[in-house]
Symmetry: C2
Subunit: 217 residues, 2 copies
């Protein structure tokens, strides 16, 4: 597939590297190509020659699958920059969490309880097929789950479009995930976004982000 990964941070780079490794054609989208190149992008890109860099709109225009790997408050601006027309009809894998660190630690969620970031994105781009997934674990485990308990832990998908969820489930399976639970429609993303507070506390308690939940049943 042609995959556009919006966001140049830890999550964006992990998804870009893994999908390129698996043979996909990957473009990373950024707000400002020159500013990204002026940072440590060049060093990272040197080790990932299959990945190219472009503006959000150019990256999205030719993609089959778009990945939202921006920060929570950067998501709608990045998707607006990508453009509703470029996003129309496409599967959007939304990994972002609406964390608000403005009042210090622990952060709160800027959307919560009777709404979610995923729903906001779906409402803002009604022609795009939004699937929430992978927002409940650290980047390195999103992309290489087998390193923990040989992959014996769970991830979730939420979305209104069954076919779009299948595309995402197949991608997650190709990463090595063995227990992908379909929670239901896009409103079920409230539940996975609301996992962040306990995730952050567990991170502090365990001293490593290399953990995940397994739904034992």
């Amino acid at each position: 597939m042609r995959i556009a990964v919006l966001g140049t941070g830890m999550v964006g780079r992990a998804i870009a590297a893994r999908t390129a490794e698996l043979g996909h054609e990957v473009v990373v989208g950024t707000r400002d190509v020159a500013a990204t190149q002026a940072g440590d992008w060049g060093e990272w890109a040197a080790g990932h020659s299959g990945v190219t860099l472009a503006g959000h709109a150019a990256a999205t225009a030719e993609a089959d699958l778009v990945v939202n790997a921006t920060s929570g408050d950067g998501s709608l601006p990045a998707l607006n920059a990508a453009g509703a027309e470029n996003l129309a009809g496409k599967v959007l894998l939304d990994i972002a969490n609406p964390l608000d660190f403005s009042k210090g630690f622990p952060p709160t969620l800027s959307v919560v309880n009777d709404d979610s970031l995923a729903e906001r994105i779906q409402r803002a781009f009604p022609r795009t097929r939004v699937v929430k997934a992978l927002n409940t674990l650290t980047a390195d485990l999103m992309t290489h789950p087998r390193q923990l308990a040989d992959g014996d832990h769970s991830v979730f998908v939420s979305g209104d479009d069954a076919e779009a969820k299948k595309v995402v489930v197949d991608l997650l399976t190709s990463f090595g995930h063995t227990d992908v639970i379909d929670l239901g429609d896009i409103t079920t993303a409230r539940g996975t976004e609301m996992l962040l507070p306990i995730w952050l506390r567990l991170y502090g308690r365990l001293g490593t982000p290399l953990f995940n939940v397994k739904v034992v049943r």
Copy 2:
């Protein structure tokens, strides 16, 4: 120990039955003893002869450990009825979740994000040692965890008082729990209360409440 279990619903009965079975002296507290007896209490109590029934205040007065097994919106009224003096200095195991079903399914949380029911209770009763625990799984698994994967799943404790948390951890261990994770102070209860939205969706998806999360690390 002498244990007061406030609440006559599914959770209260499960905790009362299990603690009585383990040899504790158990009194269940209710708002209205006559009304409770007029319901199906008699039938239940006939099978649990070690458990007695009393008003919230009488149940709490002689207890070493108090368990809040009321509904979320019933918690502060029940604890006020139990009385601040009766609760002073005692360990309060808080199992309640602040679920609000008034707008239908899925319910929202009436306290969330930058506060929690556990913190509200701790603020309302500053001389009581509140420990949040067991609010993340179904009653039957709270009390008999070994029936699922031989107990290979996780529960959490949150609270400001280390000694009070030890009392609760010991109780949970006596129930059969093998992985009790101390998340930290009482504010960490936000994280476990915010697990409820995904718990409810998983319940719907799996078709049984007999599941739990395990923190794989």
